[in-house]
Subunit: 118 residues, 2 copies
Amino acid sequence: MPASKKKLSLVADGRIWISTAEGKLVGKGRIELLEKIKQYGSIRQAAMAMEMSYRQAWQLIDDMNTKAQTPLVISTRGGKGGGKATVTEKGEQYITLFNSFNKKFQQLLAQQTQHFIF
Amino acid sequence: MPASKKKLSLVADGRIWISTAEGKLVGKGRIELLEKIKQYGSIRQAAMAMEMSYRQAWQLIDDMNTKAQTPLVISTRGGKGGGKATVTEKGEQYITLFNSFNKKFQQLLAQQTQHFIF
DNA sequence: TTTCGTTATACCTGTTGAGGTATAACGAAA
DNA sequence: TTTCGTTATACCTCAACAGGTATAACGAAA
């Protein structure tokens, strides 16, 4: 088989998220951010772990807290350690909800990709 | 219920496409474009029907034809009517393939959205 | 050989949004 | 009251991209 006619492999791909009427609430990146905040207790450290600027992380959190009725992340500044951030119970719920949704989606992608093999 | 606490309705949302190693091959918009070309036999008229510039439509088609081994659209210029465009058999196959994939995806979204009602 | 509507392609420009930098605010602990 | 690391927020800039405009190429029909 010549290089110019190398077999074309097709892959089912996509992205998912959970929306409110105001638009996107949580997707893969935001959920990962929540998980890192839960792990480190700090927005800054979570951002660093994801190789994302603090500014960007903060904006994502602010957007989530604005769109959801209940804050998903609560943060305080000053004091020991300079400040901290914690994921609320509601935030945990979204993590669980999205991961379950995403698992089913990944299964669909894998299944469909199989169908693309002629 | 005060307006500030209006019930938050969550929706499972997302986008899907079929990729090659070179990246995105076809998604919702491109498939719709193929269908319009099939309908009108003209890139320009298909673009107009989708309220898209000819330029953009042409770029999408060129990208599809480049990434797929076989052209999905064949076009000729000059002659009666100024030129024309037809969707190839391969193009038709992608329309069918994607629409089937998309149907299952839409079912997943609907099903998941049900789960979001607490 | 002129007309016509389309395909094909080059070029230019404004915008928007991603991202960095800078700095104020904060409060517990020392 | 000083220190410290974080949260919170303003500001600026540059590149990438979307999108329009312009124009060449084309060939059947009149």
